[in-house]
């Protein structure tokens, strides 16, 4: 047991594991279910140790059916539990799409608030692990386009822990995208207080700056920060906004930063057309176009399936972000 004060340095993966431990400890209605989550502790080991501690009744290895995982989680939630469902890779969320879009997202609304659906769907997302087509995608936009769902995408251990805890304690369904590429490489201070949470719907200024606003989320935030360090050496001061929460969006934080700098880049790994980067861009073009000194430039994955051998060409790196920054600075 860690002390209730101070912080501990840990990886993003450890922070997630700790969040699950603490919430299961705190509330016996919290249950975990998914493929390989119990005995095997998850293919990424995010649920390691949970079965040993909380037993097979609350940490459940399910058959291989995402539709069943989410469908069962919805039923559990209606009965009063707080299921945390794992989808092994976010690429495999699509067999559950009907349960998520037609049921989970609409249940509160269509029942006039009689039934609620506090299910948290945790799912590792994004590229950079040489996973090719089906172990690399960033499908967050599908869920952002589905009213009734909250969509979270933390980038630091602290936020990962704090947001996962908020999601589990909240009363809405949440799709929680975990940046698997940086599960083990990004470390950071995480508050020890088991009641530490991060509020849903608040962005984080990952780096303050005055020349250009770069908006991002998930693993890509680190790419943007790297770009910002490089730019600083060339005298360009980038503000990096880490959205953390895509839905609900911290509109104020986005508007304020964009108004302040007048130049905006939105960076995301997902394919370009109809991605969440487009939404941010459209929001700004509708709300504060008069403040903008340059086009709103999107840095994204290409409109192709996710490749294997050419992954490193496909994924936007810091230099691609810098190209966009250059474009908006020199417009």
């Amino acid at each position: 047991m860690t002390a209730n004060t101070g912080t501990t340095v840990m990886t993003l993966l450890q922070a997630l594991n700790l969040a699950l431990m603490e919430e299961m400890e705190r509330n016996k209605d919290v249950v975990v279910l998914g493929e390989d989550v119990a005995r095997n502790g998850g293919v990424f080991r995010t649920t390691e140790g949970l079965m040993a501690k909380f037993g097979e009744a609350r940490v459940i290895d399910t058959p291989l059916a995402e539709s069943g995982i989410i469908g069962a989680a919805i039923g559990m939630a209606m009965y009063g539990l707080r299921p945390v469902a794992e989808i092994q890779f976010s690429d495999f969320i699509f067999p559950a799409m009907d349960q998520i879009v037609s049921e989970m997202a609409k249940l509160r609304y269509r029942s006039g608030g009689e039934f609620t659906c506090p299910v948290v769907v945790r799912t590792p997302s994004g590229g950079g692990i040489r996973g090719g087509h089906y172990h690399s995608q960033s499908p967050e936009a599908y869920f952002c386009h589905t009213p009734g769902l909250m969509v979270l995408a933390p980038s630091t251990p602290e936020d990962a822990k704090g947001l996962l805890k908020s999601a589990i304690r909240g009363n809405d369904p949440v799709i929680f995208f975990e940046p698997k590429r940086i599960y083990r490489t990004v470390k950071g201070e995480v508050p020890n207080d088991p009641d530490f949470t991060v509020p849903i719907g608040k962005a984080r200024i990952a780096r303050a700056g005055k020349d250009v606003t770069v908006i991002s989320w998930g693993a890509m935030v680190h790419t943007c920060l790297e770009a910002a360090e490089k730019a600083a050496r060339n005298g360009v001061d980038i503000e990096v906004v880490d959205l953390r929460s895509l839905v609900p969006l911290d509109e104020e934080a986005v508007l304020n930063s964009a108004k302040k700098t007048g130049r905006v880049v939105v960076a995301s790994e997902a394919t370009r057309t109809c991605g969440f980067a487009s939404e941010i861009s459209a929001f700004l073009a509708e709300e504060i176009i008069e403040y903008l000194e340059a086009p709103i430039v999107r840095v994204t994955g290409y409109d192709t399936p996710f490749p294997y051998a050419l992954e490193h060409v496909y994924m936007p790196g810091p230099n691609r972000v810098l190209d966009a920054v250059q474009r908006v600075m020199t417009f």
Binding site: P63, S67, G71, M78, Y79, R110, S111, G113, L249
Partner: protein, 369 residues
């Protein structure tokens, strides 16, 4: 060898006769009364639709025994995960007709706040889960509810209803498979009315019976004459109590017939022979039960007439009451999307208010279909 067809009345192709279940006279009359109420509610719903007073209706003509007999086997704390043809089940759970018709009118009295099409009910206090249109999804929910019951250690059961068409859905497979693995206290009641809109059950699956599908999930499959309310009651009760005692789930096939159209939008003459309908009209579950009640002297013809008349009045009055209630408020559009309204929705709501009544014309436009 395919599953046997079980029945108490012993007619209509039954291959194995069941004993009459132990039910007192009051209970028998209650079954009868609810079957008649269901019929009358459906007649009223269709009439309201034909008159243009409500936009849509889904009758359950012919499925009264299947609904009433099965729902009667549940206890108050048990749960129901219904599909959209379960108005009779709701009546047994204690919902009143006005609550249902409020939904059909989409008025401010509707628990779903007028947000769904008619017959998409939600009755939380009756443990009757909110109905959606997508076929099959409720099956997996039932399994989840039942898993939760076990995790909590509650001696409750979740019973779900599904059609023959729904047996083809993804969630039939996952719902039954999960329940089979976790031995969840769940009863899967398939009302095989032999049609999924225009598709006959023979085109729905290669399996000889629906009950036969249970074997794929390691659970018993039971096939029952679904127009025999006593057989439905007895077999459902056995399955429910087995589930309650930890013996796991059952798949129950209630073999019946959809006597009416799929919905008020449907015209069965396009796809099924009249003789089939005539044949099944002779097996009307209410008439069969009434015959048995008369023969066994539980009721007189006069008693029955009174029940019919009361139910008719009940439904007419419920409709009158529902029709007077006003529409949901514009603000309700934005509520209940989330527990708390996010900034984006507040802005959208404010924009709607800012429009004022300028757009009344848009809103009153007639819709073309």
């Amino acid at each position: 060898m395919p599953a046997e067809l079980l029945g108490v009345f012993g007619t209509g192709g039954v291959t194995k006769k069941l004993p009459v279940p132990e039910l007192g006279r009051d209970e028998l009359l209650q079954l009868h009364r609810n079957m008649v109420r269901t019929r009358k509610l459906d007649e009223r719903g269709m009439k309201l639709q034909r008159q243009g007073r409500i936009g849509f209706y889904v009758p359950s003509f012919g499925e009264e025994a299947a609904q009433i007999g099965s729902a009667a086997a549940l206890k108050k704390n048990d749960w129901v995960s219904p599909s959209y043809r379960q108005q009779g089940v709701a009546l047994v759970r204690g919902v009143n007709a006005t609550e249902m018709l409020d939904n059909c009118f989409g008025n401010s009295g509707d628990a779903a706040k007028g947000r769904q099409m008619p017959v998409h009910y939600t009755f939380r206090s009756h443990n009757f889960i909110s109905i959606g249109s997508p076929i099959g999804t409720q099956i997996a929910h039932a399994t989840g509810v039942a898993m939760a019951m076990r995790i909590r250690g509650d001696a409750n059961v979740c019973l779900t209803y599904l059609g023959d068409g729904a047996t083809s859905s993804n969630d039939f497979h996952t719902g039954l498979n999960f329940a089979g693995v976790f031995k969840s206290p769940c009863v899967f009641v398939c009302i095989n009315n032999q049609y999924a809109i225009s598709l006959n059950v023979a085109g729905q699956s290669g399996s000889t019976t629906i009950a036969d599908k249970a074997r794929a999930y390691g659970m018993p499959g039971v096939r029952v004459d679904g127009n025999d309310v006593l057989a439905v009651y007895a077999t459902t009760l056995a399955a429910v109590e087995a589930a309650r005692q930890g013996d796991g789930p059952t798949l129950l096939e209630l073999f019946s017939f959809r006597m009416g159209p799929h919905s008020s939008s449907d015209d069965p003459s396009r796809y099924r022979p009249k003789v089939e309908e005539d044949e099944w009209r002779a097996k009307d579950p209410i008439q069969r039960f009434e015959k048995w009640l008369l023969e066994n002297k539980h009721m007189t013809a006069a008693d029955m007439a009174a029940v019919h008349e009361q139910a008719e009045t009940e439904m007419a009055e419920a409709a009158k009451l529902s029709e007077t209630k006003e529409a949901p408020s514009k603000d309700s559009l934005f509520e209940d999307v989330y527990a708390a309204m996010p900034a984006s929705l507040k802005r959208q709501q404010a924009a709607l208010h800012a429009e004022g009544d300028a757009h009344a014309q848009d809103r009153n436009a007639a819709f073309p279909l």
